[in-house]
């Protein structure tokens, strides 16, 4: 049986998620393309009757992680020091986000560590349950919760223009 047609139904969602994950449109479309190619080459490992969307997001996650690993091996980028960002370091007072726009969200999202960005988007954009996210990322549900909690709180601080307790540093 050919899953090609079923795959196509999921392409718009994969693309929407990829474009939120990577604001660079070309890279996002490459991510979708690589995901579809890998899915097709492994279609025999898909069990009919199971959740195709979850299977595709798992593949996309793996492709994405590989890309991030390769990119961080050669690129210069700015990262936020995870350890320095304790709960106490957050200065946003709250109730300020209603006036912000979606482009601010895009900007802030790109400042999250990739693992937090994935969780925030899978829950917020894809509206996956925590269990589905845990499954797609192959991590325990507790890890999903802590990444979500840290990611959202950091987004909130970034978008409120607060000075987070984290240090920006250039990583080579």
């Amino acid at each position: 049986m050919d899953i090609r047609n079923d795959l196509m139904e999921h392409v718009p969602r994969l693309r929407r998620y990829a474009r939120a994950l990577l604001t660079n449109r070309e890279l996002a479309d490459d991510l979708v393309q690589d995901t579809l190619e890998r899915a097709l080459s492994r279609s025999r490992t898909f069990e009919y009757g199971t959740d195709l969307r979850a299977w595709l997001f798992t593949i996309m996650h793996n492709v994405f992680v590989n890309q991030v690993r390769k990119a961080s091996a050669r690129a210069v980028h700015v990262s936020v020091d995870d350890e320095a960002f304790g709960e106490t370091g957050l200065a946003a007072s709250g109730g300020q986000l209603h006036s912000l726009e979606v482009r601010d969200l895009d900007y802030a999202l790109q400042r999250l560590p990739a693992e937090q960005r994935e969780v925030v988007l899978l829950v917020g954009l894809e509206e996956m349950s925590y269990a589905e996210v845990a499954n797609a990322l192959s991590v325990p549900i507790g890890t999903v919760m802590s990444r979500l909690s840290r990611g959202r709180e950091r987004l909130r601080s970034l978008m409120a223009g607060a000075q987070p307790g984290a240090k920006l540093k250039v990583v080579r």
Partner: protein, 54 residues
């Protein structure tokens, strides 16, 4: 004031925003929010964040 609200974790707050709590737990979170304006503002921001996604 003897009615101490049930302890609410970070996870509960996010699960509340995502509609992933049991009704009993949800009510406990709602009570905690009513008693804590800072928490209420934070929860409001989390809802705003979720609503910004298309």
């Amino acid at each position: 004031m003897s009615e101490q609200p049930a302890a609410i974790s970070e996870e509960d707050i996010h699960a509340y925003v995502d509609g992933a709590l049991s009704s009993e737990r949800r009510e406990q979170v709602e009570r905690a929010i009513e008693l804590n304006p800072a928490l209420a503002a934070r929860v409001s921001d989390y809802f705003s964040l979720n609503n910004m996604f298309p």
